[in-house]
Symmetry: C3
């Protein structure tokens, strides 16, 4: 049976998420409903785009994703359904899908037109649920909308690169539960530009010269734990979504703080990468690993 | 298979909700459990009443709703099970059901008496789960309790109306995730009293002369987006539950604020409606739409 | 079909929990996934230990519990799978299991070794899900790891008792959604030491001489409700998990406060019990109830 996921800014308290699940089960008693997140900041489209992009890949093909952020229909905000990588997405055409569509070309995009007569202030319940259940029953997108060629983009999805490709200027797109600061610089993008060069990552007054594969990789486990003083150390990783992230080891905002609080980084703040030199690689030698160069921060 | 929903003030962190679900699955492996909300403010009965009233309608007939707020049994707080509109509700007799029962007459109310020997500080787990599973297996209410004629009421469910019916004095019963302020004035109640008259809605220092059908209805989409300055505008709507709500368009408490913060409105604060005049309707003309009169706020 | 539960510090917003559920359904479409908590404080092992200990008992035998707290693998933090009381637990060997294992001897503990080649900063997704699905399909622990004799302990699990057994010094291990303060003093432990003696419980400047069975047990319901002034009263109970808890009746941190705020008690603060005298029990008389002695606080 189909899976329908929910990603919304409904919060944890209100009846909206509960009512939505009730409406789905009323139409399809055997479907599986999975909450991805109801705690997206209100109307925060980039946050929702980041969350759904990183969550959807883990679900089986055929999963239907309802995204309920800024979804009231009006002349500037139409409803769409997108088929992409054998997943279905139902949302407003407000840029939420632009992050995913940057990486994977959609198979089909339709502008939903089933609701000519539906006047509603709760479109997730009254429109998205109907579309999701239609798809879950095997219905096609053509029945519920007309094809459109592309979706509305949002800004700040792609970092800026200067002309001689010595600098990336990215920005903070997400701050996670640990206060770790996620930028819009993807690992693949970084490595394509890096070409083996050393680099310096700058955020506020801090600089980093190394990117780790996981959070504890910088720890020297040969030193006894009580002599190491590791907790609270700042580092840079490519996170599990493949994004460059400024993190704090075992961060805890109530004790020694998080990357966001310690570095004073907020959404939309810029994080830059400067590539320093092109190493001359002697013949016969291996190209140095692109992530783990120079000395530590 | 039956659906059992959970509405509690357990919060998102504690083991209470998890343990409750485990206990249900231990009795009924195939039941569906749906979280409506675990973030009701502690012991806040009106909040819980509002949430369950608006969520339950979306669920299929036969759904069983466990409401775990202020549910410790004592001489003043008995446990009840209510059948209403082919839904079942299990809760304490502390007023939570009075909002729903105001609108729909219960088919049956029983005071639960299965727990003569159950000494517990966790009645949801030790009593409500047992009752819910009994009902889910097709058991009747008569087996688990004795019929009582009515439930305990709570205050502030119905707004005050003056004698000559020119004024409604309602109160704030809920503040949602967007900071929108929900009153106890229902659309049907409002329209019955309005009889086509103009009106003025007052809350603190603000007045409104119009009620919208959805949040973006006041926007003039003929003006380009960057010249409109819509975000953060205050407006009044009948929300998806049919309640008069003071809202802020695309509210965001971290940037330009929400209805609750901008107007300084809190739970129990009063919101009044004054009906201004009785329009003389010329013969042959249609009665004006009752929601969209006069000029804008 | 098997049940897999999730207890993590992922928070309610991030994509981590959603992605984990997607990965499980991708492997096992018919499994049931139950969220126990995603709101454990970041890296807070005692909190997670308390939550899982109290939640797991309610689930059916055979349930598989994924605990995702501080789970990045490194030389000091290996992954384990534990079979105990016919439940399975998958987590890091960081002390999370020591609270449960204090009470029930594990049938088997293995150190997971399936991930020699898995480099990951998201071990719950990339390792724990695989192990959980292996177990859910009926696989044995021997296939995914090698047996180890014991798990890593954490401190503060067991309260201190003085030599002549007149004093217990416990500590606060958890503060719940109502602000109630849970100590590490279990009812069985308390009663074994008490042997019918009177006692005085001290926390900060407050003392208590009585332990209640449920929160409203101290209320005198013969006095009319509006003359009682019960709300906000401090009391001591053994909570539903069997732990000594300092509570406030109908606590509400926004109005009259909670046990944590009113008494100024935080995690790790100490709470002591002093046993006062050994009562001489006349022959033929019953031993006094061990919980309900002396006068009220």
């Amino acid at each position: 049976m189909a899976i329908i996921t929910l990603t919304t800014d409904f919060g944890e308290k209100d009846y909206f998420a509960g009512a939505t699940k009730g409406a789905i089960y009323s139409e399809l008693p055997d479907v599986k409903i999975v909450d991805i997140s109801h705690s997206v900041s209100p109307f925060n489209i980039p946050e929702a785009a980041y969350i759904i992009q990183n969550a959807f890949r883990s679900f089986p093909k055929g999963t239907i994703h309802i995204i309920g952020i800024d979804s009231e229909i009006n002349p500037e905000n139409q409803h769409i359904a997108v088929k992409l990588d054998d997943h279905y997405f139902i949302c407003a055409n407000n840029g939420i899908m632009s992050m995913i569509c940057k990486e994977i070309v959609p198979e089909k995009i339709v502008e939903i037109n089933i609701h000519d007569k539906i006047q509603t202030s709760f479109p997730v319940l009254d429109v998205f649920v109907k579309v999701a259940c239609h798809i879950a029953r095997g219905g096609t997108l053509d029945v519920i909308g007309k094809s459109i060629p592309e979706i509305k983009p949002i800004k700040n999805i792609v970092p800026y690169v200067n002309d001689d490709k010595t600098q990336i200027i990215g920005s903070v797109i997400y701050i996670d539960n640990y206060g770790n600061v996620v930028t819009n610089i993807k690992q693949s993008f970084f490595e394509t530009l890096q070409k083996g060069r050393d680099f310096k990552i700058s955020a506020r007054n801090y600089t980093f010269k190394k990117i780790y594969q996981k959070y504890s990789d910088f720890v020297n486990f040969e030193i006894p734990e009580n002599k190491r003083n590791d907790e609270g150390r700042k580092l840079v990783v490519f996170n599990s979504g493949g994004f460059l992230e400024i993190a704090v080891y075992k961060s805890n905002s109530e004790t020694f703080g998080s990357a966001s609080t310690l570095l004073g980084l907020r959404l939309m703040d810029s994080v830059s990468v400067n590539f320093i030199n092109i190493p001359i690689i002697p013949k016969g030698k291996d190209i140095p690993q692109n992530i783990s160069n120079v000395d530590d921060f």
